[in-house]
Amino acid sequence: MSKDAVYKTQHDAQQDAKDTAQNQVSAKKAGAKRTRIGVKRWITPFFKQYRGSLALALFLGVLTFVFAAALMFSSGYLISKAAEAPDNIMVIFLPVALVRIFGVGKPLLHYLERLVSHDWILRMTSKMRLGLYTVLEKDAIFFKKRYKTGDILGLLAEDIGHIQNLYLRSIFPTIVAWALYVLVIIALGFFSLWFALYMALLLAVIVFLVPLVSVLINGARQTRRKVMKNDLYEQVTDNVLGVNDWIVSGRSSEYVQAYQGSEKALRKVDSLLNTSTRRRDLILQVLFACVIISLLLWAGEEFGGSRAGIANWIAAFVLGFFPLIDAFAPLSAASIETNKYRDSIDRLGDLPSNNINEELFQGALQAPFVIECKQASFMFHDGINNVLDELDLTIQAGEKLAVLGRSGSGKSTLATLLRGDLTPTKGSITLNGIDSSKLGDSISDYVGVIQQQTYLFNTTLAENLRIGNSSATDEELWDALEQVGLSYLVNRLPDGLDTLVDEAGLRFSGGERHRIALARVLLHKVPIVILDEPTVGLDPVTEQALLNTFFTTMKDKTIIMITHHLQGVSCMDKVIFIEDGKLTLSGSPEELAKTNPFYQRLQAFDRGEY
């Protein structure tokens, strides 16, 4: 049986590969369009920025190769001239001087070129980062939720790094090589129009045809490789996470074999790619040999025939071309490499474009703060069912409300709607009569949030706390820490408030992180706080202690606690249950405990009496 299963997995993998190949064909057009959008948003606009230093970088890039070629050119001329054994040493004075200039100048130019191009790239990076941040900021709350798995934000940040490489390793060298191509042709044109034309064709094969053909041949292979590698990544991540299950099932060897099968398939593609790269290099070498021989024959005809004199140019022309090989040879590899960056461009291109700003409510709201949901419904754009369905709810100032429900019941969406990060599809959600979505960023003056995972920025504890209130004094920070029960712990830290939160070994535990989040909210002085399942994953003792802290420090505030079990619920004024977007149960905990059988059953279960 196990053998069958292995074959099946391998067969599946092949089938999957076939499917993806077919899908690729049909998706190719859509893909190309996607990439075009990405390029339009993230590549071309940046060429227009800092044109001066961009032009300088490219100019220096071209000049570097010109100097390299000139060094060999003048060296060839120098020794030919010197071989005439002229009586006057002054005859070779100029070539000697040129050799010196070019010899020193080439590395210097190369150095400058790299500095200028990196400087330009880094300027662009700042702009691109700002661009990326602005796009993400619009949608900040959602973005993270939509891509729950995987570190999409880290990925996007890396994508910008990839685009840097695209410029440095593909775009710049290609432009430089093209410019050199034009220069070589023009230079030869001064001597012979026909020979320049001939060389234009021959070099075009190297500069345009070979890269184009290798992209055509290997582009698809490389895409296939990328797909296979991604699949393998998913597969391996999957199975490494489930490694205990494999071990317990006694089927690990089966998986190991299947994995080796996938690796072999990948190796096949790799072999094809490597072989074709080697062949391409061989073909290029033959072409370069042809170029040099052509130069030799042409120079022999043009300048030869008699001893020395103008024949001194022969060595110059032939040797002068050698350094240019370094400019032309990497072109094919560079153009294939663009394939690698396509994903990054696509991913960035897929980001939502900046949407139009709505008209926001300007002005300040006055206490008491009352939240009202009237017939509020919400549906995601791609959804079929309402996540929230005609919800009516009023939350008075200072009220403590617990929102219970299964995962996926819509209780988290309710939190997002209350803060105005989403707008109800139907009905309204208002804070003191103003639609919460119309409040824009000023909602943060009224509503604070403590999330399931508290994010701490990789800076000092003080800086993390000051996110709540940037002008808070140290005393105020200590006061907040005292309230949330962390002052003892922070006092013991050698650097106190200046401790870097992520420094090795000093990581805060889940409970402590939530306390820091609470301190931030206290510093922020908001009247309403949403607790979005803040105790998931904590053990009950830690959880209860944390909840006690929440309730004592925020007894004057409105608290909306979203939770999935009963711990802490008895301290609340009101409990509501949401199921399938509808309010199914509502009342004070005491009332429900007396009269509602469902609630009684849950309570009994929680106590272990069921």
Binding site: I79, K106, Q260, D270, Q285, S306, I314, D441, P540, C571
Partner: protein, 580 residues
């Protein structure tokens, strides 16, 4: 720059010798190239007709193309060799992962393990392809080129020979000091770049505090400030490679000028001078190539080191368990009359005793509840009991036979394991359910699914049991995932030992209630080892073990524990208002 680990690879001697031969060949064709070309040019310079140069041109052509042919053959050989070595490493690493299980994954982090397996090995492969050839070429090609240069013109030979040790010395200094500095600066640069990612990751927190718009300006400002810092770093980093560049071009220029001056006084003629001038760049090229791809080599070197460290550790743990092989593993079979005895069990994790001197014994199908706060060592104990990690001290005995690395497979065959987040593989629902028992018929699978309450999910899925689920396909909720894991247990009735590691901790209370009703019947007549902090389960346990900081502080039945003024009681009372 030399890596000792390289010389321990199998077949390395053969490959190094082959590379040396290839390099010698390459030097030879380079020589042919220079000879052919400078003969042709010299003859033309002397006024001979172009048509007479055919022989020299053919020599040049063959040599020039020959260089690439030699490289072709060499690359092909290296490609195969590097792949074979990488493949061996991959197999060994896979073996390690699947024999040491989650303890290894935990130690390394699941991301690192995956990355090491997929990226790390690829980096090693690239490293082998790059570094071996570069190393050999550095010592062979310049040497082979110097001989003819000395014969043709000993003055140039001396110039080039003298520069060689300078360049090597420079590279050593670069490796020692500049390399160190560059690495430090590289780290700094990374730390600075992380600011951006950090801000992105916390973007919702910023938004909650109304700071997100303002932060945009700071991102730009910080990024620009980092540009200044980075450019400073680059000035040094780029300079080091530019100095090599300078060495090479200046040497060529120096050779050219020396040749020119000596041609003037006719102490040399054009042919040798030209040949030397063609050979000079080739001579320096090998040296410059050696310094290139520094970072790719570094990555490969580091990956090789970390993989070998893991392999070494696996070997050690396997060696330790070899002598236990003599034990008859049949004793590990669990039956109604079997005994499980845990004696002074300890487990070190990062120098810290996650489990410390734990002892207890049970006979037959008993339900053992293991409770304690987070970090009390519940999960570590479950991992030890499942044989996923091996004890640092003490032992676990089943029917008086010690559980070891060698016989744990027998024990694991009888286990069913239900962690907090059971892993759902990217496969069909049916394949996921029949994971322990791939031979199950469709009816059996369906029946098991129904028993644990998966019918609703099956109805919801477009292709029922044959719908792909898991990451990247249709994700399951926590409750659904637990049900799938339960169905696995339900399907394979042979498994008589159940290991539960907080299976309901993160579920909502309604789902937990439903699941409990499904789980209780499955636990009948089985040995159950149940770690949890949800106290309601304790009513169904025969024995309760209370852990604190890795030690057993109390154990007994629920009645016994409730009676005493125990840790258990204080644990319960700390929960205060809400529960229990």
């Amino acid at each position: 720059m030399l890596d000792k680990a390289l010389f321990e690879l199998p077949g390395i001697k053969r490959i190094l010798i082959a590379l040396a031969v290839f390099a010698a060949f390459e030097a030879l064709v380079i020589l042919g190239l220079a000879w052919g070309l400078s003969s042709a040019v010299t003859n033309l310079w002397l006024g001979h007709p172009t048509t007479e140069q055919l022989l020299w041109i053919v020599l040049f052509f063959l040599s020039f193309v020959g260089i690439q042919i030699v490289r072709y053959a060499k690359d092909k050989m290296l490609d195969t060799y590097a792949f074979e070595r990488a493949d061996e490493l991959r197999q060994d690493l896979m073996h390690s992962i699947f024999s040491r299980g989650s303890s290894l994954v935990q130690e390394q982090g699941s991301g690192t393990t995956t990355t090491l397996l997929l990226e790390g090995i690829e980096q090693v492969e690239i490293y082998l392809r790059l570094v071996l050839s570069k190393m050999v070429r550095l010592f062979v090609i310049p040497f082979f080129l110097l001989i003819p240069i000395f014969i043709l013109d000993w003055v140039s030979g001396i110039i080039m020979l003298l520069i060689f040790p300078f360049v090597i010395l420079y590279m050593v200094i670069l490796g020692r000091f500049a390399g160190e500095k560059a690495t430090k600066q590289h780290k700094e640069f990374k730390r600075l770049a992380n600011h951006f990612v950090d801000t992105l990751r916390g973007i919702d927190t910023l938004k909650f505090f109304g700071l997100s718009k303002k932060q945009g300006d700071s991102i730009y400002a910080v990024s620009e400030r980092y540009r200044g810092a980075t450019i400073k770093t680059l000035r040094v980093a780029i300079l080091s490679s530019s100095v090599l560049d300078l060495f090479a071009t200046l040497s060529v220029a120096a050779v050219a000028i020396m040749l020119g001056l000596r041609l003037l006084d006719e102490s040399i003629i054009l042919f040798p001078a030209l040949t030397v001038l063609i050979l000079a760049p080739e001579y320096f090229k090998t040296i410059r190539e050696f310094a290139a791809d520094f970072h790719a080599s570094l990555d490969g070197k580091n990956s090789l080191a970390s993989i070998q460290k893991i392999l070494l550790k696996t070997e050690e743990s396997e060696d330790a368990s070899v002598d236990a092989l003599l034990n008859d593993s049949r004793h590990l079979l669990w039956s109604e009359s079997s005994e499980l005895a845990v004696n002074d069990l300890s487990y070190l994790y990062d120098e810290f005793e996650a489990v410390s001197k734990v002892s207890f014994a049970v006979l037959g199908p008993v339900k053992v509840g293991i409770i304690g706060a987070s970090g009390a060592g519940k999960s570590s104990l479950i991992h030890l009991l499942g044989g996923f990690s091996l004890a640092s001290e003490g032992s676990i005995c089943i029917n008086n036979t010690e559980l070891t690395g060698a016989n744990r497979e027998e024990w694991q065959q009888q286990l069913a394991y239900l962690p907090q987040n059971p892993y759902i593989f990217h496969a069909t629902l049916s394949e996921n359910i029949s994971f322990y028992h791939p031979g199950a018929t469709e009816e059996e699978v369906l029946q098991a699914a129904q028993v644990v309450g998966l019918q609703d999910l099956i109805d919801e899925l477009p292709e029922g049991l044959n719908t792909k689920i898991g990451e990247g396909a249709r994700p399951l909720s926590g409750g659904q995932a637990q049900r799938v894991a339960l169905a696995r247990i339900c399907l394979d009735k042979k498994r008589s030992v159940l290991l539960f590691d907080e299976p309901t901790a993160h579920l909502d209370i309604e789902t937990e209630l439903e699941l409990k009703q499904k789980m209780l019947p499955l636990m009948q007549d089985k040995l159950v080892l149940f770690a949890t902090h949800r106290l309601h389960w304790m009513h169904d346990m025969d024995l309760i073990i209370v852990l604190d900081e890795g030690r057993i502080v109390e154990s007994g039945t629920l009645e016994e524990l409730q009676k005493s003024s125990s840790t258990f009681a204080s644990f319960v009372s700390k929960l205060g208002g809400g529960a229990a």
